[in-house]
Symmetry: C2
Subunit: 294 residues, 2 copies
């Protein structure tokens, strides 16, 4: 029998679970009206599909909204000026911004009030970062997004720098940036806004990937946190694969395999993880040489 | 001819130059009275000897002081309660504490006022650190000295941590500690109190040691910043030697040598550096095979 190790912290984080629940509730409450999410509620096409069946649709074009429609702000959050614009149109706005992301917004404004130049460690085009930058602007602050060490140069010109992080940032890069900054600027204040869910999910991969024959990472191909899980897995185990659904599992990956590790990004629902482990067992009943010979 | 590369930032730093100047002035003003320094004014027995000739003596036993004596607080600083005790004895106290060290004392008290638990990165038994801990106590704060990463554990129990550094701390360790702390605590405020003189002196060694045949580090054997320069040199060039004076130069070190690097710790006066480079030239005129054959 093939042994499958599922990472204890695979899948949905607190913020995503909450956003999906709010979307489900909205669909129940608004049977008559239309319910939209501002972009896919999570980086997972399958779960987005399931919500569509419940009547919750990712918004295509903002012009299509009309008074009385319900719009759900997803867990990433949005810039405050965009939220105000939606409310002023008479829409029913449901804020499913993750409380940990709200904490980033608050930390930014607190640091701005204290006079710091802001360094937001994160991906420049990530919706969460775009939302957070909106709060930086609203609070009248100045700052930059740091995606790679070279981006830091602008920050070195400032004497007092305040640091926050995208909630799904890698701990290693965060540590590197903070250490470097501390050497260059006179005063540094750091609010660690990395969400614990991300780090424990990453720690699982550091533990599991080196001790399995094949490592499977499940999650949207466009999900940043899943891609990071996959890059960690790949660096520790060359036989690592990134899939979105069980259908993508290729039997040839499992030849001669005894032990398989499975993890999943923050936006992967449990039912998809179960489908994947089920499919691996099916494949291995037929093809994994060790399991078939035992 | 042997080529000698003297590090541009070798020797006395601003704080030491200032303390020596204050000691010289005190010796002139107090021709009649006695002038003492609280411990050797710098980690350099030769310079201490020169000051003795001017009438400035390192204090042996505090009991030997009597009213009207002049005492000089050296650049490392002392705990405030000790300074008060000296003043209350009717002594003429001259404070030669380095202004950069005073900045550490102020940073500690500012951070304590803001409610931070203090991490002082430095050597537990260094006089500067002992002085700074005195200010931590006076300001009613709590904190620890971190000399190695394991010392940090106590700090992880606190949500809000303020960091300062011994002025002569290595930048690499400082960066490591700050990065690690940022991951563990909720809020971190760092005042970078590393003195630039130390870092530029260290950077010189990183540049020079790998490109010379022999690297000479001059400075007191009991001087922390010199020992660190030597350990950096040794890691980059196994033919590195730590000496206090030109007399310790061993001709056998220079056999077949074309290029010699020279640096010196913060407490080494220029006249000692000149003696060393002069002696190296002397040795190489006789013994360095390349120079004698060219």
């Amino acid at each position: 029998m093939v042994e499958i190790v599922v990472a204890p912290n695979a899948g949905f984080c607190f913020g995503v679970k909450r956003a999906v629940k709010l979307a489900e509730e909205a669909s129940v409450k608004n049977k008559e009206g239309r319910v939209f999410t501002l972009g896919p509620i999570i980086h997972n096409p399958q779960e987005v599909g399931r919500l569509k069946d419940l009547g919750v649709f990712p918004l295509d074009r903002e012009e299509n909204l009309s008074e009385g429609d319900t719009v759900i702000i997803r867990s990433h959050g949005i810039p405050p000026e965009r939220e105000e614009a939606l409310r002023s149109k008479g829409l029913n706005v449901i804020d499913a911004t993750c409380p940990y992301v709200k904490a980033v917004h608050e930390a930014i404004c607190d640091l701005v009030k204290e006079g710091y130049f802001i360094v937001l460690i994160g991906e420049k085009n990530h919706p969460e970062v775009i939302g957070s930058l909106g709060y930086l602007k609203k609070c009248g602050g100045r700052g930059i997004v740091v995606e790679k060490l070279e981006d830091l140069e602008e920050a070195f010109k400032h004497e007092r720098v305040g640091v926050v992080s995208q909630t799904t940032q890698s701990e290693r890069f965060f540590k590197e940036v903070v250490g470097e900054l501390a050497l260059w600027v006179k005063e540094l204040k750091v609010i660690n806004t990395i969400c614990n869910a991300t780090s424990v999910r990453q720690e699982d991969v550091y533990k599991i990937a080196p001790q399995v024959d094949v490592m499977i990472v499940i999650g949207g191909k466009n999900s940043g946190n899943t891609r990071r899980l996959f890059s960690i897995a790949k660096s520790l185990n060359p036989r690592s694969y990134h899939i979105e659904t069980a259908d993508e599992l290729d039997p040839s990956w499992f030849e001669g395999v005894k032990k398989v590790g499975v993890t999943a990004g923050a936006s992967t629902p449990d039912w998809i993880i179960s489908q994947v482990t089920g499919r691996i067992r099916e494949i291995c009943e037929k093809a994994c040489s060790y399991s078939s010979s035992q």
